[in-house]
């Protein structure tokens, strides 16, 4: 047998025992405590609380009281925050950065840890269920589920991101800049023929409504993207019996989805807030060029 066929038969042999356990996970979270009238505490909600509390205590334990000369734990957290700052500052712009950075860091760390905690042994496999005739235990109400594998969890995150976008953009950019950016005529008055200018104004106005629709749809796509990736990954893992290749893929997907959610939030903020920096830099460059030429 060549090495290629040997490798494929090895993979097939590894996968064979797992085809017997091909069950998936339920897409909606199971209820733990039911208060009646639609108000419940679901298992993903409960897991979200517990992991968030653990995260907060971990960070507080690492940092303690922040000092100028950092302790080891503080240095770890500081290096993480510095890396995120270098990533987000060019996107969001200097004006919106102090206001936007705390929520971006929170989103990244929250979504990252909650995505990764779905890979810990025991998640989705401990709980209440039924035993069928063959003695095999089918679980119907797991105790621990990741927070982002419930559509409600990701809708909550997306709505918070949208609310933060609204507040930051109205505070930094102002209503006039937003309306100009959405509906305003962006053609140069000197360079377009006189008869074309009003037609372009009408075109930009109509395009503005399409822009408003795409903005309104943002929380929906943000939440469905995160939910689809996390829940789909969990379903894949449980259905194929935690095949090890998919486990590493889920690690990567968890990191990338956290990064993507945060990057998209920052890009939406930066689209409206990141104009002023370019004009200031151009003015400074022109002034320094003029000064250099004057010296010569």
């Amino acid at each position: 047998m060549s090495r290629g066929t040997k490798f494929t038969t090895l993979l097939a042999a590894l996968a064979l025992p797992f085809t017997a356990f091909a069950e998936g996970v339920a897409p909606s979270a199971a209820k733990l405590v039911d208060f009646g009238g639609g108000w419940t505490i679901t298992n993903s909600m409960f897991t979200g609380w517990v992991i968030s509390a653990l995260l907060v205590t971990l960070v507080l334990y690492l940092v303690g009281k922040p000092t100028i000369l950092p302790s080891k734990g503080q240095a770890v957290i500081e290096s993480l925050i510095e890396a995120l700052r270098d990533l987000f500052e060019p996107i969001v712009g200097k004006k919106a950065f102090p206001l936007a950075f705390p929520i971006l860091v929170t989103f990244f760390i929250f979504i990252l840890f909650h995505n990764w905690m779905g890979l810990i042994p025991g998640v989705g496999t401990m709980g209440w269920g039924t035993t069928d005739a063959a003695g095999h235990f089918h679980i119907t109400r797991p105790l621990i589920r990741p927070h982002n594998s419930d559509f409600n969890g990701t809708i909550a995150l997306a709505l918070i991101s949208f609310g933060a976008w609204l507040i930051i953009v109205f505070k930094i950019a102002g209503t006039k800049l937003i309306l100009w950016d959405l509906f305003g005529n962006k053609a140069e008055k000197k360079e377009t023929p006189g008869w074309l200018y009003p037609i372009l104004a009408l075109v930009f106005f109509i395009v503005g409504f399409i822009e408003v629709f795409s903005i309104v749809i943002r929380p929906f796509t943000l939440s469905v993207r995160l939910f689809g990736n996390v829940f789909g990954g969990e379903n894949l893992l449980h259905g194929t019996g935690f095949f090890f290749v998919f486990y590493f893929m889920e690690l990567l997907v968890g990191l990338i989805q956290a990064l993507v959610f945060t990057l998209l939030t920052s890009v939406y903020i930066g689209l409206l807030c990141n104009h002023g920096d370019d004009h200031d830099e151009h003015a400074h460059d022109d002034k320094s060029d003029h000064a250099a030429e004057a010296h010569h």
Partner: protein, 69 residues
């Protein structure tokens, strides 16, 4: 010919959506790799752009997967 097409089963709506998403993500990856090849020093910035583009392209595919009946 129509008999053959009529035999297709499964979730065709999701299939087309995901096909588009996969092709889109692949195209973005191709152009990102080419851009890094032309300018290796800009690899970090190109990575950020590529990930944003892939997220937007993949998001609609995930929408098709989970919302099609």
């Amino acid at each position: 010919m129509l008999n053959i097409i009529a035999e297709i089963q499964g979730n065709i709506a999701s299939a087309f959506g995901l096909l588009g998403a996969a092709i889109g993500v692949g195209l973005i990856g191709q152009k990102a790799a080419e851009a890094v090849g032309r300018n290796p020093a800009a690899s970090g910035k190109i990575l950020v752009q590529a990930i944003i583009g892939m997220a937007l392209a993949e998001g609609l595919g995930i929408l098709a997967l989970f919302l099609a009946k």
